[in-house]
C-alpha cells in the first residue's frame, strides 16, 4: 500500500523538502563522488555530467516548443549553433568573458526565433517541420560561407580557460577546472529550469498549452495566438542559445559539424525518450544522449562494455566490424521505438508511475482548498481578491 500524501500539507512539504535536499546533495557532491570517493577517473566523468547539462537545457528549450506549445521544430541545432558561435567569436576574437556573451547570444537567438515563429503562424505540423529543417540544414552551410568570421570548417577555438577563481577550493588543474566548470554550468542549468517552470506555470504558459490543446478554443478564450506562438518560438530559441553558450564554454570551441542537423534530430529523440510536456523530462533525455551513446561508442571502440570503468562484458564483435560504432545510433532508434510503445509519456512518466507505487500525492490545489473551506463555513471564508474559486482565465 503506497503512502498517500495530500498536496500542500505539512507532510507533503516535508516530503518535497527531503527530495530536493537529496537532489541538491547529489548534484553538489558529484565532483567529489566521481573524483574522490570511488577513485574513478575524475574529471572525465565530471565533464560528462557537464555535457549532460548542456544537452538538458537544449532539450528543455525544445520541450517548451514541441511539448508545451505543440509546434514541431527540427532545426534547433541552428539556435544552439548561433549561441555557440556567438560565444566563440566574442571570446576568441574580442576577449569577452564567457558569461558576458549570454547578453548578446540570448537576445540574438530570441529575435531569430521570433522571426522563425512568423511562418509558424501560417503553417503547422509537417510543413512547419520542413521550414525548421531548412534552418538547421542551412546553419553549417552559412558557417562555412562566412569563414572569415566563423573559421569555416576548421572551427574556432577559444583559448580562454575557465580557471577557478582563488576563492574557490580548487586548484587550477584539470580537476579544479572540471569542477568549476561543472558548478558554473549547474548554476546556469538550475536558473534555466526554474525559468522554464515559472514560465509554464504563468499565464503565458497556460496560454501556450491552451494553443497546443486546441487553437480555436484558445482563441475563443481570448488567447492572442500570433503573440504567444511567436513568443514561445523566441523563448525556445533563447533556451537553445543558452545551451550553445554552455557548449562553447565546455568544449572551448565551435565547429560546423557539431551543431549540425543531426543534433536537431538527436534533441528530439532525447525529448521523446525523456518525456515530452514535462520540465524534468529533459534530464533523463540528456543523460541518455550523453551516457548511453558515449558508453556504446566506447564499447564498440574498445570491445568491452564498461560502466564507470567497470568491465561488464565483451563486445569484441562490434570492435572488429567496420562501422561497429554505429551501434550507438541504432540503439537510440531502438530506444525511441521502445519508449513510444512502452512509455508514451517518456522515462519521466515511467519514473512517476514507479514512484506512485510507493508514494502517492493527492491533488489539493489552493483554489480547491479555498472552495472546500467556503462550503464548510460560508460566513467566515471571505473571497480572496481576484479569485472566484476558479483559476484565472487565460488570455
Amino acid at each position: 500500500m503506497p503512502i498517500q500524501l495530500t498536496q500542500n500539507t505539512p507532510k507533503h512539504r516535508a516530503y518535497l523538502a527531503v527530495a530536493w535536499a537529496i537532489a541538491a546533495i547529489v548534484l553538489v557532491s558529484i565532483p567529489a563522488l566521481f573524483g574522490q570517493m570511488f577513485g574513478l577517473i575524475a574529471p572525465v566523468n565530471i565533464d560528462r555530467m557537464t555535457e549532460t547539462m548542456c544537452y538538458a537545457v537544449a532539450i528543455l528549450g525544445l520541450n517548451l516548443l514541441i511539448g508545451f506549445s505543440g509546434q514541431l521544430s527540427i532545426g534547433h541545432s541552428a539556435f544552439v549553433g548561433i549561441g555557440m558561435y556567438t560565444t566563440a567569436i566574442l571570446v576568441a576574437d574580442h576577449d569577452w568573458p564567457y558569461l558576458l556573451t549570454l547578453v548578446v547570444a540570448v537576445p540574438l537567438c530570441f529575435l531569430v526565433g521570433v522571426g522563425l515563429g512568423i511562418p509558424a503562424l501560417r503553417i503547422r505540423g509537417l510543413y512547419l517541420a520542413v521550414v525548421t529543417l531548412a534552418v538547421g540544414a542551412a546553419f553549417p552551410t552559412l558557417v562555412r560561407k562566412f569563414e572569415s568570421v566563423t573559421g569555416g570548417s576548421n572551427g574556432l577555438v577559444t583559448k580562454s580557460k575557465w580557471d577557478p577563481p582563488s576563492w574557490t577550493p580548487w586548484d587550477r588543474n584539470d580537476y579544479g577546472r572540471s569542477a568549476w566548470m561543472y558548478f558554473t554550468i549547474l548554476a546556469i542549468t538550475i536558473v534555466m529550469f526554474v525559468l522554464a517552470r515559472n514560465l509554464i506555470r504563468s499565464r503565458a504558459g497556460r496560454a501556450v498549452m491552451a494553443i497546443r490543446d486546441n487553437e480555436i478554443s484558445a482563441s475563443v478564450a481570448g488567447v492572442n495566438l500570433p503573440l504567444y506562438k511567436t513568443m514561445i518560438f523566441g523563448v525556445s530559441a533563447a533556451f537553445a542559445s543558452v545551451s550553445g553558450v554552455m557548449f562553447a564554454m565546455y568544449k572551448q570551441q565551435a565547429t560546423d559539424t557539431f551543431p549540425a542537423i543531426d543534433l536537431s534530430i538527436i534533441l528530439v529523440v532525447g525529448l521523446v525518450v525523456g518525456g515530452a510536456s514535462t520540465i524534468s523530462g529533459a534530464v533523463p533525455g540528456a543523460l541518455l544522449l550523453v551516457w548511453v551513446v558515449r558508453t556504446m561508442r566506447d564499447a564498440a571502440s574498445s570491445g568491452n562494455l564498461k560502466v564507470f570503468g567497470v568491465e561488464l562484458f565483451s563486445v569484441d564483435f562490434l570492435k572488429k566490424r567496420e562501422g561497429g560504432g554505429q551501434v550507438a545510433t541504432i540503439l537510440l532508434g531502438i530506444l525511441l521505438l521502445v519508449v513510444v510503445f512502452v512509455l508514451p509519456g517518456g522515462t519521466i512518466d515511467g519514473l512517476r508511475r514507479l514512484r506512485a507505487k510507493f508514494v502517492q500525492v493527492l491533488p489539493n490545489p489552493s483554489w480547491l482548498a479555498h472552495r472546500q473551506q467556503t462550503a464548510a463555513n460560508p460566513a467566515s471564508a471571505g473571497s480572496p481578491a481576484g479569485s472566484s474559486g476558479q483559476p484565472d482565465p487565460v488570455r
Binding site: A134, G152, N154, N173, T255
Partner: protein, 514 residues
C-alpha cells in the same frame, strides 16, 4: 487583411531565404571563400601551398630519381640524443631541435603511460558515421602492436592502444582527447584522423606537452615544429600531392585541358584544391568547375550532375571515405567520361574503396593516384616479406587480409614502434620527452611499409615532414569481377623530395618572398 498579406510576404521571404541558404551554390561561394580565406590555419596552409607547389613542381621534374631504397639517409646515433645529462628537464634532438619540459604543466610526468610492462597510447578516429571505414586503421595498428609484443615489445613492454570513436567530428575529437589528457594514463596520442580534428586539439596537446604523433592527415600544418613542437604528421602532404598532379597534367595535356573538381568541403579538401588552383595559374589548364561536398552529404549525385555539364577533360577527386567510391561510381555510371580521373591518395585503399565498386558491377579503372605506401593487395608484392608478414598476422589476429585499410594501420603503428625503439636508445631511456625527440629525429634508411622500401627521415628544425615521396599510378584491371591493382605510370622511378620541404615556417617564409 493587410496584416495577413504582410504575414504571407514575410513567410515567403523567410522560407525562400532559408531554402536559398540551404541549397545555395556551394560552388561559387565555396570558391570565393577558398580564395579569400583568412582563418589562421587555412591562411597558413594556403601560404604553404604556394611555396610547396613551386618547390615540388621543380623537384618533381628535377628530382625524379631511381629509387634506391636507402636514399643516402644516415641514421643518427640515438644514444647521443635525448635527455640532457646535466639538465634533466632538457631534451635534445637532431636539426637543432630541443624541448624544455620545465615549461610544461607542473604535474607533467615524463613516465606517464610507461611502465616496465606496458606503453599506453591513445587514438581517436571515426568508428561510426560516413567515414567509419577508417576505424579499421586502429584495428590494424593494434594488430601490429600485438605482433611487436610477441617479438619482445619495446624493451619487454607491450604497446597498448586505446581507441575512441569521434565520428570525424572535431568537437567529439576534442572531447575524446581532453578525456585522454585528463586520465593521465597515456604516453602519447597516435594518428588522430582528420585535419579539422587535429587543428582542434593541437593547442591543448602542445600546452600539456603531450606527444601528438603521426597525425592521420596530410595537412602541411603538421610541419609547424617551431610553434607546435609536440605535433607531427606522417603522410605526404596534400599540397605536394596536388602540385604533383598539376605537373603530371601539364605534361599529359600540353595543349591545355579543362579541369573539374569534386572537393571535400574542409581544410583537407581545400589544400588539394588550392594547390591545383595555384599550380595551374599561367598554364593552359583551366578550372571549369569545382563542386564542394559536406561530410554529411548522403551522396554526390547532384554534384556530378553539375560537373558533367562542363564536359571537362579531367576530373580531380579530392575527398575521402565512402565519397571516394561514390565519386568513381558516378563517373562510371554517368554519360560524362573525362579523359583522366585523378584521385587523392586518401582514396588509395583498394580493399576499402574499390572493392565496393566491384560489388556494384563497376570497376574504377584508369583512376590515377599517387602512391606512397605499399598496397598489400597488389599481386606484384605477394612475395614482399613485409606484406607476407602482414597477411600472416592478419590471419592470426582474425582480421581480413583483403582489407588494405588494416595495412594503413600497420604503417602508422610501424612508425610509432620505430619511434619508441629509437627513444629507448636515447639518453635517459624511454620517456615521453625522448619519444618526442625520437619522433623529430627518426631516420629510417629503408622503410618496409613504403613503395620500394623508400627511406624517410625527420630532422628537428630542418625537416619536419616524414613522407616526402610518391609515385603516380593508374588503377588497372584484368577482370571486371576481380579487384585490380595500381600500376605505376613510370615503372622505375619515384618522385622523391626528401628534405626539400623543410618546415612549415620555412615554407611560409619562402612563400611570402615569392
Amino acid at each position: 487583411m493587410r496584416s495577413r498579406k504582410l504575414a504571407t510576404a514575410a513567410t515567403l521571404i523567410a522560407v525562400s531565404g532559408l531554402v536559398a541558404a540551404a541549397c545555395g551554390d556551394d560552388d561559387s561561394g565555396g570558391s570565393a571563400t577558398t580564395v579569400a580565406t583568412t582563418a589562421a590555419a587555412t591562411t597558413a596552409a594556403t601560404t604553404a601551398a604556394a611555396t610547396t607547389s613551386a618547390g615540388v613542381t621543380t623537384t618533381a621534374g628535377a628530382t625524379t630519381t631511381a629509387a634506391t631504397g636507402g636514399g643516402g639517409l644516415v641514421v643518427p646515433d640515438y644514444s647521443k640524443l635525448g635527455q640532457d645529462a646535466t639538465n634533466k628537464k632538457l631534451y635534445k634532438g637532431t636539426g637543432g631541435f630541443s624541448i624544455d619540459v620545465s615549461k610544461c604543466p607542473s604535474d607533467w610526468n615524463a613516465k606517464q603511460g610507461i611502465t616496465d610492462k606496458e606503453i599506453s597510447v591513445f587514438i581517436s578516429l571515426p568508428k561510426s558515421g560516413p567515414l567509419a571505414g577508417f576505424g579499421l586503421i586502429a584495428d590494424g595498428a593494434i594488430n601490429y602492436f600485438n605482433y611487436i609484443g610477441t617479438t619482445g615489445g619495446i624493451g619487454g613492454r607491450q604497446i597498448k592502444l586505446d581507441v575512441k570513436d569521434d565520428v570525424y567530428q572535431a568537437a567529439q575529437t576534442k572531447t575524446n582527447v581532453n578525456e585522454a589528457l585528463q586520465t593521465k594514463k597515456y604516453a602519447a596520442l597516435l594518428t588522430i584522423l582528420g585535419t579539422p580534428n587535429n587543428l582542434a586539439i593541437w593547442d591543448s596537446t602542445n600546452e600539456q606537452c603531450m606527444p601528438q604523433l603521426l597525425n592521420g592527415t596530410g595537412g602541411a600544418d603538421w610541419g609547424d615544429v617551431e610553434n607546435h613542437p609536440w605535433t607531427t604528421g606522417m603522410q605526404l602532404d596534400y599540397w605536394t600531392e596536388g602540385s604533383i598532379w598539376v605537373d603530371y597534367l601539364k605534361k599529359t595535356y600540353p595543349s591545355g585541358a579543362k579541369l573539374a573538381m569534386i572537393t571535400f568541403n574542409n581544410d583537407f579538401g581545400k589544400q588539394y584544391a588550392n594547390a591545383v588552383k595555384a599550380g595551374i595559374k599561367g598554364t593552359n589548364l583551366t578550372l571549369a568547375k569545382e563542386e564542394l561536398h559536406e561530410a554529411t552529404a548522403p551522396n554526390l549525385t547532384n554534384n556530378f550532375t553539375n560537373l558533367a555539364a562542363t564536359n571537362a577533360d579531367v576530373l580531380l577527386i579530392q575527398t575521402s571515405g565512402a565519397f571516394c567510391t561514390q565519386a568513381m561510381a558516378e563517373v562510371e555510371k554517368g554519360s560524362w567520361k573525362p579523359k583522366s580521373v585523378v584521385m587523392s591518395a586518401t582514396c588509395g585503399s583498394t580493399g576499402q574503396f574499390f572493392k565496393p565498386l566491384v560489388d556494384q558491377g563497376l570497376t574504377g579503372k584508369d583512376t590515377i593516384i599517387i602512391e606512397t605506401i605499399k598496397n598489400p593487395l597488389d599481386p606484384v608484392l605477394k612475395d614482399d616479406p613485409f606484406v607476407k608478414l602482414w597477411v600472416e598476422q592478419m590471419t592470426k589476429g582474425g582480421l581480413d587480409p583483403k582489407q588494405s585499410t588494416y595495412f594503413t594501420g600497420w604503417v602508422f603503428a610501424y612508425y610509432m614502434t620505430e619511434i619508441l625503439k629509437a627513444a629507448e636508445k636515447m639518453q635517459g631511456g624511454l620517456d615521453r620527452g625522448n619519444i618526442m625527440i625520437a619522433a623529430r629525429s627518426i631516420v629510417l634508411p629503408k622503410s618496409p611499409v613504403n613503395l620500394l622500401d623508400t627511406g624517410v627521415k625527420m630532422e628537428g628544425l630542418k625537416d619536419a615532414y616524414l613522407t616526402e615521396f610518391g609515385r603516380l599510378a593508374k588503377y588497372t584491371i584484368t577482370d571486371p569481377k576481380v579487384l585490380g591493382t595500381f600500376v605505376p605510370l613510370d615503372e622505375k622511378s619515384l618522385i622523391n623530395v626528401e628534405g626539400k620541404l623543410g618546415t612549415f615556417a620555412t615554407v611560409k617564409k619562402a612563400s611570402v618572398a615569392a
